[in-house]
Protein backbone atom coordinates (compact mmCIF):
# COMPACT_ATOMS: atom_id res chain seq x y z
CA UNK A 1 0.00 0.00 0.00
CA UNK A 2 1.33 3.44 -0.89
CA UNK A 3 0.85 6.19 1.63
CA UNK A 4 -0.25 9.50 0.28
CA UNK A 5 2.23 12.34 0.94
CA UNK A 6 0.02 14.02 3.51
CA UNK A 7 -0.33 10.88 5.56
CA UNK A 8 3.38 10.07 5.46
CA UNK A 9 4.09 13.66 6.45
CA UNK A 10 1.84 13.30 9.51
CA UNK A 11 3.44 10.00 10.48
CA UNK A 12 6.98 11.35 10.04
CA UNK A 13 6.14 14.40 12.12
CA UNK A 14 4.68 12.26 14.89
CA UNK A 15 7.70 9.94 14.99
CA UNK A 16 10.21 12.78 15.02
CA UNK A 17 8.34 14.72 17.67
CA UNK A 18 7.93 11.69 19.90
CA UNK A 19 11.63 10.90 19.63
CA UNK A 20 12.55 14.40 20.71
CA UNK A 21 10.00 14.45 23.53
CA UNK A 22 11.03 11.00 24.76
CA UNK A 23 14.69 12.01 24.95
CA UNK A 24 13.87 15.29 26.68
CA UNK A 25 11.65 13.47 29.19
CA UNK A 26 14.34 10.92 29.91
CA UNK A 27 17.05 13.54 30.44
CA UNK A 28 14.87 15.80 32.52
CA UNK A 29 13.64 12.98 34.72
CA UNK A 30 17.20 11.88 35.47
CA UNK A 31 18.29 15.42 36.27
CA UNK A 32 15.16 16.18 38.31
CA UNK A 33 15.45 12.90 40.23
CA UNK A 34 19.06 13.57 41.18
CA UNK A 35 18.46 17.21 41.99
CA UNK A 36 15.41 16.43 44.14
CA UNK A 37 17.29 13.71 46.02
CA UNK A 38 20.49 15.73 46.23
CA UNK A 39 19.61 19.35 46.84
CA UNK A 40 18.18 18.74 50.36
CA UNK A 41 21.63 17.47 51.33
CA UNK A 42 23.43 20.56 50.06
CA UNK A 43 23.86 22.70 53.13
CA UNK A 44 26.30 25.44 53.98
CA UNK A 45 28.26 22.94 56.00
CA UNK A 46 28.31 20.53 53.02
CA UNK A 47 29.87 23.22 50.87
CA UNK A 48 32.39 24.62 53.31
CA UNK A 49 33.80 21.69 55.28
CA UNK A 50 36.12 18.94 54.31
CA UNK A 51 34.80 15.37 54.63
CA UNK A 52 35.24 13.57 57.92
CA UNK A 53 34.63 9.98 58.91
CA UNK A 54 35.22 8.77 55.31
CA UNK A 55 32.58 11.15 54.05
CA UNK A 56 29.80 10.19 56.43
CA UNK A 57 29.89 13.67 57.90
CA UNK A 58 31.45 17.00 57.14
CA UNK A 59 31.26 18.52 53.68
CA UNK A 60 32.93 18.06 50.32
CA UNK A 61 34.92 21.27 50.04
CA UNK A 62 38.20 19.46 49.35
CA UNK A 63 36.51 17.47 46.57
CA UNK A 64 35.14 20.65 44.99
CA UNK A 65 38.60 22.21 45.08
CA UNK A 66 40.08 18.97 43.73
CA UNK A 67 37.63 18.78 40.85
CA UNK A 68 38.14 22.41 39.88
CA UNK A 69 41.92 22.25 40.04
CA UNK A 70 42.27 18.98 38.13
CA UNK A 71 39.88 20.33 35.47
CA UNK A 72 41.72 23.64 35.32
CA UNK A 73 45.09 21.95 34.80
CA UNK A 74 43.64 19.71 32.10
CA UNK A 75 41.96 22.60 30.27
CA UNK A 76 44.97 24.90 30.48
CA UNK A 77 47.22 22.20 29.05
CA UNK A 78 44.87 20.73 26.44
CA UNK A 79 43.43 23.98 25.01
CA UNK A 80 46.60 25.51 23.55
CA UNK A 81 47.86 22.11 22.39
CA UNK A 82 44.53 21.11 20.84
CA UNK A 83 43.68 24.44 19.24
CA UNK A 84 47.28 24.77 18.07
CA UNK A 85 47.16 21.35 16.44
CA UNK A 86 43.85 22.21 14.80
CA UNK A 87 45.36 25.38 13.33
CA UNK A 88 48.40 23.47 12.18
CA UNK A 89 46.18 20.94 10.43
CA UNK A 90 43.93 23.51 8.77
CA UNK A 91 46.14 26.52 8.09
CA UNK A 92 49.80 25.70 8.28
CA UNK A 93 50.07 22.57 6.23
CA UNK A 94 48.59 21.00 3.16
CA UNK A 95 46.89 17.62 3.30
CA UNK A 96 49.62 15.02 3.49
CA UNK A 97 50.47 11.71 5.09
CA UNK A 98 51.44 13.53 8.28
CA UNK A 99 48.08 15.27 8.62
CA UNK A 100 46.34 11.98 7.96
CA UNK A 101 48.38 10.28 10.68
CA UNK A 102 47.64 13.06 13.17
CA UNK A 103 43.95 12.97 12.38
CA UNK A 104 43.79 9.18 12.51
CA UNK A 105 45.58 9.14 15.86
CA UNK A 106 43.26 11.76 17.28
CA UNK A 107 40.22 9.84 16.14
CA UNK A 108 41.51 6.58 17.57
CA UNK A 109 42.37 8.25 20.87
CA UNK A 110 38.86 9.65 21.12
CA UNK A 111 37.40 6.17 21.25
CA UNK A 112 39.62 4.71 23.98
CA UNK A 113 37.95 3.96 27.36
CA UNK A 114 39.01 6.42 30.01
CA UNK A 115 40.39 3.73 32.30
CA UNK A 116 43.08 3.12 29.69
CA UNK A 117 44.06 6.78 29.95
CA UNK A 118 44.07 6.28 33.71
CA UNK A 119 46.44 3.37 33.40
CA UNK A 120 48.68 5.32 31.02
CA UNK A 121 48.67 8.32 33.38
CA UNK A 122 49.44 6.07 36.32
CA UNK A 123 52.42 4.47 34.61
CA UNK A 124 53.74 7.59 32.89
CA UNK A 125 52.95 10.59 35.10
CA UNK A 126 52.57 8.97 38.52
CA UNK A 127 55.38 6.43 38.38
CA UNK A 128 57.76 7.24 35.53
CA UNK A 129 57.79 11.04 35.95
CA UNK A 130 57.51 10.52 39.75
CA UNK A 131 54.67 13.05 40.04
CA UNK A 132 52.85 10.70 42.40
CA UNK A 133 49.09 10.74 42.90
CA UNK A 134 48.54 14.43 42.46
CA UNK A 135 46.44 17.14 40.91
CA UNK A 136 49.17 17.51 38.29
CA UNK A 137 49.15 13.81 37.31
CA UNK A 138 45.34 13.79 37.17
CA UNK A 139 45.18 17.02 35.22
CA UNK A 140 47.78 15.94 32.68
CA UNK A 141 46.07 12.59 32.18
CA UNK A 142 42.73 14.30 31.60
CA UNK A 143 44.44 16.72 29.23
CA UNK A 144 45.60 13.80 27.09
CA UNK A 145 42.09 12.36 27.28
CA UNK A 146 40.25 15.49 26.08
CA UNK A 147 42.87 16.50 23.51
CA UNK A 148 41.24 14.58 20.62
CA UNK A 149 37.85 16.18 21.30
CA UNK A 150 39.35 19.66 21.31
CA UNK A 151 41.37 19.00 18.15
CA UNK A 152 38.40 17.61 16.24
CA UNK A 153 35.86 20.28 17.19
CA UNK A 154 38.34 23.13 16.69
CA UNK A 155 39.35 21.77 13.31
CA UNK A 156 35.71 21.58 12.23
CA UNK A 157 35.10 25.10 13.51
CA UNK A 158 38.11 26.54 11.69
CA UNK A 159 37.10 24.81 8.48
CA UNK A 160 33.69 26.49 8.56
CA UNK A 161 35.30 29.96 8.39
CA UNK A 162 34.68 31.06 4.78
CA UNK A 163 37.95 30.85 2.79
CA UNK A 164 37.31 34.33 1.40
CA UNK A 165 37.94 35.83 4.88
CA UNK A 166 41.49 34.56 4.67
CA UNK A 167 41.88 36.02 1.19
CA UNK A 168 40.55 39.38 2.32
CA UNK A 169 42.93 39.46 5.24
CA UNK A 170 45.92 38.47 3.09
CA UNK A 171 44.94 40.98 0.43
CA UNK A 172 44.98 43.73 3.05
CA UNK A 173 48.57 42.90 3.85
CA UNK A 174 47.90 40.51 6.71
CA UNK A 175 50.31 37.73 7.54
CA UNK A 176 49.16 34.22 8.30
CA UNK A 177 49.57 34.82 12.03
CA UNK A 178 47.68 38.13 11.97
CA UNK A 179 44.91 36.49 9.97
CA UNK A 180 44.68 33.69 12.51
CA UNK A 181 44.54 35.99 15.53
CA UNK A 182 42.26 38.66 14.10
CA UNK A 183 39.89 36.77 11.84
CA UNK A 184 40.01 33.01 12.22
CA UNK A 185 39.98 32.70 16.01
CA UNK A 186 37.16 35.20 16.59
CA UNK A 187 35.06 33.66 13.80
CA UNK A 188 35.68 30.06 14.84
CA UNK A 189 35.41 30.83 18.55
CA UNK A 190 31.91 29.43 19.20
CA UNK A 191 32.95 26.08 17.72
CA UNK A 192 36.29 26.03 19.50
CA UNK A 193 34.54 26.91 22.76
CA UNK A 194 32.10 24.04 22.27
CA UNK A 195 35.03 21.64 22.05
CA UNK A 196 36.63 23.06 25.18
CA UNK A 197 33.33 22.93 27.09
CA UNK A 198 32.80 19.31 26.06
CA UNK A 199 36.31 18.64 27.31
CA UNK A 200 35.65 20.40 30.61
CA UNK A 201 32.46 18.39 31.02
CA UNK A 202 34.34 15.15 30.53
CA UNK A 203 37.00 16.22 33.04
CA UNK A 204 34.47 17.12 35.69
CA UNK A 205 32.60 13.86 35.23
CA UNK A 206 35.62 11.56 34.95
CA UNK A 207 36.26 8.91 37.59
CA UNK A 208 38.34 6.03 36.28
CA UNK A 209 41.18 8.13 34.89
CA UNK A 210 41.49 10.38 37.95
CA UNK A 211 41.17 7.74 40.64
CA UNK A 212 44.31 6.13 39.22
CA UNK A 213 46.25 9.37 38.83
CA UNK A 214 45.03 11.91 41.38
CA UNK A 215 44.19 9.37 44.06
CA UNK A 216 41.32 9.58 46.50
CA UNK A 217 42.69 11.58 49.42
CA UNK A 218 40.10 13.50 51.40
CA UNK A 219 42.31 16.18 52.85
CA UNK A 220 42.47 19.64 51.34
CA UNK A 221 45.00 19.73 48.48
CA UNK A 222 47.60 22.41 49.10
CA UNK A 223 49.61 22.33 45.89
CA UNK A 224 49.64 20.84 42.41
CA UNK A 225 51.57 17.94 43.87
CA UNK A 226 48.95 17.07 46.48
CA UNK A 227 46.75 14.06 45.92
CA UNK A 228 43.06 14.80 45.84
CA UNK A 229 39.65 13.24 45.39
CA UNK A 230 37.37 14.74 42.78
CA UNK A 231 33.62 15.00 43.28
CA UNK A 232 32.90 12.26 40.77
CA UNK A 233 35.34 9.92 42.53
CA UNK A 234 33.87 10.87 45.89
CA UNK A 235 30.40 10.08 44.61
CA UNK A 236 31.62 6.74 43.28
CA UNK A 237 33.24 5.76 46.56
CA UNK A 238 30.30 6.93 48.69
CA UNK A 239 27.80 4.99 46.61
CA UNK A 240 29.92 1.95 45.90
CA UNK A 241 31.01 1.38 49.46
CA UNK A 242 27.61 2.24 50.85
CA UNK A 243 29.02 5.00 53.02
CA UNK A 244 26.25 7.52 52.61
CA UNK A 245 23.76 7.54 49.78
CA UNK A 246 22.35 10.95 50.78
CA UNK A 247 25.77 12.52 50.53
CA UNK A 248 26.37 10.74 47.24
CA UNK A 249 23.20 12.34 45.86
CA UNK A 250 24.27 15.69 47.27
CA UNK A 251 27.60 15.38 45.47
CA UNK A 252 25.90 14.34 42.23
CA UNK A 253 23.49 17.26 42.37
CA UNK A 254 26.36 19.64 42.93
CA UNK A 255 28.21 18.12 39.96
CA UNK A 256 25.23 18.75 37.71
CA UNK A 257 24.92 22.31 38.95
CA UNK A 258 28.65 22.86 38.43
CA UNK A 259 28.50 21.64 34.81
CA UNK A 260 25.46 23.84 34.21
CA UNK A 261 27.30 26.88 35.59
CA UNK A 262 30.38 26.16 33.48
CA UNK A 263 28.21 25.96 30.36
CA UNK A 264 26.35 29.17 31.12
CA UNK A 265 29.59 30.98 31.95
CA UNK A 266 31.32 29.84 28.78
CA UNK A 267 28.34 30.84 26.65
CA UNK A 268 28.25 34.30 28.18
CA UNK A 269 31.96 34.73 27.49
CA UNK A 270 31.63 33.63 23.87
CA UNK A 271 28.60 35.87 23.29
CA UNK A 272 30.39 38.85 24.71
CA UNK A 273 33.33 38.21 22.44
CA UNK A 274 31.15 37.69 19.38
CA UNK A 275 28.67 40.52 19.93
CA UNK A 276 30.59 43.09 17.92
CA UNK A 277 30.73 41.21 14.63
CA UNK A 278 27.24 39.82 14.20
Amino acid sequence: MRLNPNKSQVIAKTVIWSAAILVLLLLFSIILYILSKGIPNITWQFLTQIPSDMGRSGGILSCIVGTLSVTLVATLVATPLGVGTAFYLTEYTRESTITKIIRFSAESLAGIPSIVYGLFGFIFFVIYLKLGWSILSGGLTLAVMILPTIIRTSEEAIRTVPPIYREVSFSLGGTKWQTMIKVLIPTALPGIATGIILGIGRCVAETAAVILTAGSALRMPLSLFSPTRTMAVHFYILAREGISLERAYGTAALLIILILLINIGANLLVNRFMAKGH
Binding site: P162, I164, L172, V183, K276, G277, H278
Partner: protein, 256 residues
Protein backbone atom coordinates in the same frame (compact mmCIF):
# COMPACT_ATOMS: atom_id res chain seq x y z
CA UNK B 1 39.26 61.07 -24.66
CA UNK B 2 42.93 61.72 -24.07
CA UNK B 3 44.05 60.05 -20.91
CA UNK B 4 46.86 57.93 -22.15
CA UNK B 5 49.71 60.27 -21.42
CA UNK B 6 50.37 58.85 -17.94
CA UNK B 7 53.59 56.95 -17.47
CA UNK B 8 53.74 53.22 -17.02
CA UNK B 9 52.70 52.11 -13.53
CA UNK B 10 52.74 48.40 -14.15
CA UNK B 11 54.60 46.60 -16.92
CA UNK B 12 53.80 43.00 -17.63
CA UNK B 13 56.43 41.32 -19.79
CA UNK B 14 55.98 37.95 -21.38
CA UNK B 15 53.83 36.59 -18.56
CA UNK B 16 52.96 32.91 -18.57
CA UNK B 17 50.74 31.51 -15.87
CA UNK B 18 50.37 27.78 -15.40
CA UNK B 19 47.82 26.16 -13.17
CA UNK B 20 48.67 22.48 -12.91
CA UNK B 21 49.60 21.94 -16.54
CA UNK B 22 47.10 24.38 -18.00
CA UNK B 23 48.51 27.55 -19.40
CA UNK B 24 45.97 30.08 -18.16
CA UNK B 25 47.83 33.16 -19.41
CA UNK B 26 50.01 32.95 -22.50
CA UNK B 27 52.93 35.29 -23.22
CA UNK B 28 51.12 38.39 -22.07
CA UNK B 29 52.64 41.84 -22.54
CA UNK B 30 50.72 44.78 -21.14
CA UNK B 31 51.43 48.25 -19.85
CA UNK B 32 49.19 49.85 -17.28
CA UNK B 33 49.53 53.60 -17.05
CA UNK B 34 49.34 55.64 -13.90
CA UNK B 35 45.94 57.18 -13.12
CA UNK B 36 44.01 55.32 -15.76
CA UNK B 37 41.19 52.86 -15.53
CA UNK B 38 42.10 49.77 -17.48
CA UNK B 39 39.36 47.23 -18.07
CA UNK B 40 40.54 43.70 -18.71
CA UNK B 41 37.61 41.84 -20.19
CA UNK B 42 36.85 38.55 -21.83
CA UNK B 43 34.60 35.51 -21.47
CA UNK B 44 34.85 33.18 -18.47
CA UNK B 45 38.15 31.30 -18.13
CA UNK B 46 40.04 33.82 -20.21
CA UNK B 47 42.56 34.51 -17.49
CA UNK B 48 41.21 37.90 -16.46
CA UNK B 49 40.81 37.08 -12.77
CA UNK B 50 44.09 35.18 -12.78
CA UNK B 51 45.86 38.21 -14.21
CA UNK B 52 44.44 40.41 -11.45
CA UNK B 53 45.42 37.96 -8.75
CA UNK B 54 48.94 37.73 -10.14
CA UNK B 55 49.43 41.48 -9.83
CA UNK B 56 49.22 41.48 -6.02
CA UNK B 57 50.52 37.94 -5.74
CA UNK B 58 47.31 36.53 -4.30
CA UNK B 59 47.96 33.76 -6.80
CA UNK B 60 50.87 32.65 -4.60
CA UNK B 61 48.28 31.22 -2.20
CA UNK B 62 47.08 28.56 -4.60
CA UNK B 63 48.86 25.25 -4.95
CA UNK B 64 50.43 23.99 -8.17
CA UNK B 65 50.92 27.40 -9.71
CA UNK B 66 53.88 28.34 -11.89
CA UNK B 67 54.55 31.84 -13.14
CA UNK B 68 57.04 32.83 -15.81
CA UNK B 69 57.85 36.28 -17.09
CA UNK B 70 58.12 39.55 -15.23
CA UNK B 71 55.82 42.08 -13.67
CA UNK B 72 57.17 45.48 -12.73
CA UNK B 73 55.49 47.91 -10.38
CA UNK B 74 57.15 51.31 -10.69
CA UNK B 75 60.09 49.58 -12.32
CA UNK B 76 60.55 47.02 -9.54
CA UNK B 77 60.01 43.33 -10.21
CA UNK B 78 57.26 42.21 -7.85
CA UNK B 79 58.69 38.70 -7.64
CA UNK B 80 62.14 39.81 -6.58
CA UNK B 81 63.15 38.68 -3.09
CA UNK B 82 63.54 42.20 -1.70
CA UNK B 83 59.85 42.96 -2.30
CA UNK B 84 57.80 42.27 0.83
CA UNK B 85 54.63 40.49 -0.11
CA UNK B 86 52.55 42.20 2.57
CA UNK B 87 53.92 45.56 1.46
CA UNK B 88 53.01 44.74 -2.15
CA UNK B 89 49.46 43.81 -1.20
CA UNK B 90 49.03 47.06 0.68
CA UNK B 91 50.15 48.96 -2.41
CA UNK B 92 48.03 46.89 -4.77
CA UNK B 93 44.61 46.52 -3.15
CA UNK B 94 41.96 44.10 -4.31
CA UNK B 95 38.16 44.15 -4.36
CA UNK B 96 36.62 40.72 -4.77
CA UNK B 97 33.63 39.68 -6.81
CA UNK B 98 31.52 38.87 -3.77
CA UNK B 99 31.29 41.73 -1.27
CA UNK B 100 33.11 40.42 1.78
CA UNK B 101 33.00 42.50 4.90
CA UNK B 102 34.85 40.70 7.67
CA UNK B 103 32.59 39.71 10.58
CA UNK B 104 33.29 42.86 12.56
CA UNK B 105 32.03 46.43 12.76
CA UNK B 106 32.21 48.89 9.85
CA UNK B 107 34.89 50.81 11.68
CA UNK B 108 36.96 47.71 12.41
CA UNK B 109 36.65 46.55 8.80
CA UNK B 110 38.21 49.77 7.53
CA UNK B 111 40.75 49.98 10.34
CA UNK B 112 41.75 46.35 9.77
CA UNK B 113 44.52 47.06 7.27
CA UNK B 114 45.96 50.14 8.99
CA UNK B 115 45.97 48.27 12.32
CA UNK B 116 47.86 45.37 10.77
CA UNK B 117 50.49 47.79 9.57
CA UNK B 118 50.90 49.06 13.11
CA UNK B 119 48.68 52.14 13.44
CA UNK B 120 47.15 52.06 16.92
CA UNK B 121 46.38 55.70 17.63
CA UNK B 122 42.60 56.05 17.92
CA UNK B 123 42.37 59.56 16.49
CA UNK B 124 44.55 58.60 13.53
CA UNK B 125 42.38 55.55 12.85
CA UNK B 126 39.19 57.61 13.10
CA UNK B 127 40.57 60.04 10.56
CA UNK B 128 41.57 57.25 8.18
CA UNK B 129 38.14 55.60 8.51
CA UNK B 130 36.25 58.81 7.80
CA UNK B 131 38.44 59.79 4.87
CA UNK B 132 38.28 56.33 3.30
CA UNK B 133 34.51 56.10 3.66
CA UNK B 134 34.10 59.53 2.10
CA UNK B 135 36.27 58.60 -0.85
CA UNK B 136 34.20 55.46 -1.37
CA UNK B 137 31.01 57.58 -1.19
CA UNK B 138 29.70 55.64 1.80
CA UNK B 139 30.32 58.03 4.70
CA UNK B 140 26.92 59.73 4.69
CA UNK B 141 25.10 56.41 4.75
CA UNK B 142 27.01 54.86 7.64
CA UNK B 143 28.47 57.67 9.73
CA UNK B 144 25.89 57.10 12.48
CA UNK B 145 26.46 53.38 12.77
CA UNK B 146 30.18 52.89 12.38
CA UNK B 147 30.19 50.40 15.21
CA UNK B 148 27.46 48.13 13.92
CA UNK B 149 28.39 45.07 11.91
CA UNK B 150 29.61 45.51 8.36
CA UNK B 151 27.60 42.44 7.45
CA UNK B 152 24.29 44.24 8.00
CA UNK B 153 24.89 46.63 5.10
CA UNK B 154 23.26 46.09 1.70
CA UNK B 155 25.25 44.41 -1.06
CA UNK B 156 26.20 47.68 -2.75
CA UNK B 157 27.16 49.29 0.54
CA UNK B 158 29.24 46.24 1.43
CA UNK B 159 31.14 46.52 -1.84
CA UNK B 160 31.82 50.21 -1.24
CA UNK B 161 32.95 49.22 2.25
CA UNK B 162 35.43 46.88 0.62
CA UNK B 163 36.68 49.71 -1.58
CA UNK B 164 36.99 51.99 1.45
CA UNK B 165 38.87 49.25 3.27
CA UNK B 166 41.50 49.28 0.55
CA UNK B 167 41.66 53.07 0.37
CA UNK B 168 42.47 53.07 4.08
CA UNK B 169 45.83 51.53 3.19
CA UNK B 170 46.63 54.40 0.83
CA UNK B 171 47.34 52.04 -2.04
CA UNK B 172 48.68 52.95 -5.45
CA UNK B 173 46.81 50.44 -7.55
CA UNK B 174 43.28 49.12 -7.06
CA UNK B 175 42.25 45.82 -8.60
CA UNK B 176 38.55 45.11 -8.94
CA UNK B 177 37.35 41.66 -9.92
CA UNK B 178 33.79 41.94 -11.26
CA UNK B 179 32.92 44.20 -8.35
CA UNK B 180 29.32 44.77 -9.46
CA UNK B 181 28.29 41.35 -10.67
CA UNK B 182 25.78 40.81 -7.89
CA UNK B 183 24.59 44.37 -7.56
CA UNK B 184 21.56 46.31 -8.78
CA UNK B 185 22.01 49.09 -11.37
CA UNK B 186 21.82 51.90 -8.82
CA UNK B 187 24.56 50.42 -6.66
CA UNK B 188 26.57 49.69 -9.78
CA UNK B 189 26.40 53.27 -10.98
CA UNK B 190 27.42 54.53 -7.53
CA UNK B 191 30.50 52.36 -7.62
CA UNK B 192 31.36 53.36 -11.17
CA UNK B 193 30.99 56.99 -10.20
CA UNK B 194 33.38 56.59 -7.31
CA UNK B 195 35.89 54.84 -9.59
CA UNK B 196 35.93 57.85 -11.91
CA UNK B 197 36.89 60.10 -8.97
CA UNK B 198 39.36 57.62 -7.57
CA UNK B 199 41.42 57.43 -10.72
CA UNK B 200 42.65 60.97 -10.02
CA UNK B 201 44.74 59.44 -7.28
CA UNK B 202 45.03 55.78 -8.10
CA UNK B 203 45.62 53.42 -10.95
CA UNK B 204 42.64 51.16 -11.41
CA UNK B 205 42.41 47.81 -13.12
CA UNK B 206 38.95 46.35 -13.35
CA UNK B 207 37.60 43.10 -14.67
CA UNK B 208 34.08 44.24 -15.59
CA UNK B 209 31.16 41.84 -15.34
CA UNK B 210 30.05 42.77 -18.84
CA UNK B 211 31.23 44.65 -21.90
CA UNK B 212 28.93 47.60 -21.22
CA UNK B 213 30.64 48.30 -17.94
CA UNK B 214 34.02 48.30 -19.66
CA UNK B 215 32.63 50.86 -22.06
CA UNK B 216 31.24 53.02 -19.27
CA UNK B 217 34.23 53.22 -16.95
CA UNK B 218 37.43 52.39 -18.78
CA UNK B 219 39.98 54.68 -20.37
CA UNK B 220 41.69 51.75 -21.98
CA UNK B 221 40.64 48.17 -22.43
CA UNK B 222 42.38 44.87 -22.99
CA UNK B 223 40.51 41.92 -24.44
CA UNK B 224 41.63 38.48 -23.29
CA UNK B 225 40.50 35.22 -24.83
CA UNK B 226 41.62 31.83 -23.52
CA UNK B 227 44.72 33.41 -22.01
CA UNK B 228 45.72 35.34 -25.12
CA UNK B 229 45.72 39.11 -25.27
CA UNK B 230 43.74 39.71 -28.44
CA UNK B 231 43.57 43.47 -28.50
CA UNK B 232 44.21 46.49 -26.35
CA UNK B 233 43.79 50.19 -26.80
CA UNK B 234 41.70 53.22 -25.93
CA UNK B 235 38.24 52.11 -24.92
CA UNK B 236 36.62 54.40 -27.46
CA UNK B 237 38.78 53.05 -30.30
CA UNK B 238 38.41 49.40 -29.43
CA UNK B 239 34.65 49.59 -29.09
CA UNK B 240 34.18 51.76 -32.20
CA UNK B 241 36.69 50.08 -34.52
CA UNK B 242 37.95 46.77 -33.19
CA UNK B 243 40.94 45.64 -35.21
CA UNK B 244 40.36 41.96 -34.57
CA UNK B 245 37.33 40.02 -35.69
CA UNK B 246 37.28 38.07 -32.42
CA UNK B 247 37.02 41.33 -30.49
CA UNK B 248 34.15 42.63 -32.56
CA UNK B 249 32.38 39.26 -32.34
CA UNK B 250 32.66 39.36 -28.56
CA UNK B 251 31.59 42.95 -28.02
CA UNK B 252 28.66 42.62 -30.37
CA UNK B 253 27.58 39.54 -28.47
CA UNK B 254 28.15 36.96 -31.16
CA UNK B 255 29.83 34.69 -28.61
CA UNK B 256 30.91 34.64 -24.98
Amino acid sequence: METTTGQSKISIRNLHFYYNKNEVIKALNLEVRANEILAVFGPANSGTTTLLRTLNRMSDLAAKVRIEGEIFLDGKNIHSPEISITELRRKVGMVFEVPTPLPMSIFDNIAYGPRLSGIKNKAALEEIVEKSLQMAVLWDEVKDRLHSSGMRLSGGQQQRLCIARILALQPEVILLDRPCSGLDPVSTSKIEESLRTLKEEFTIIIVPHNVQQAGRVADRVAFLLMGDLIEEGLAADVFANPKEKRTSDYITGRFG
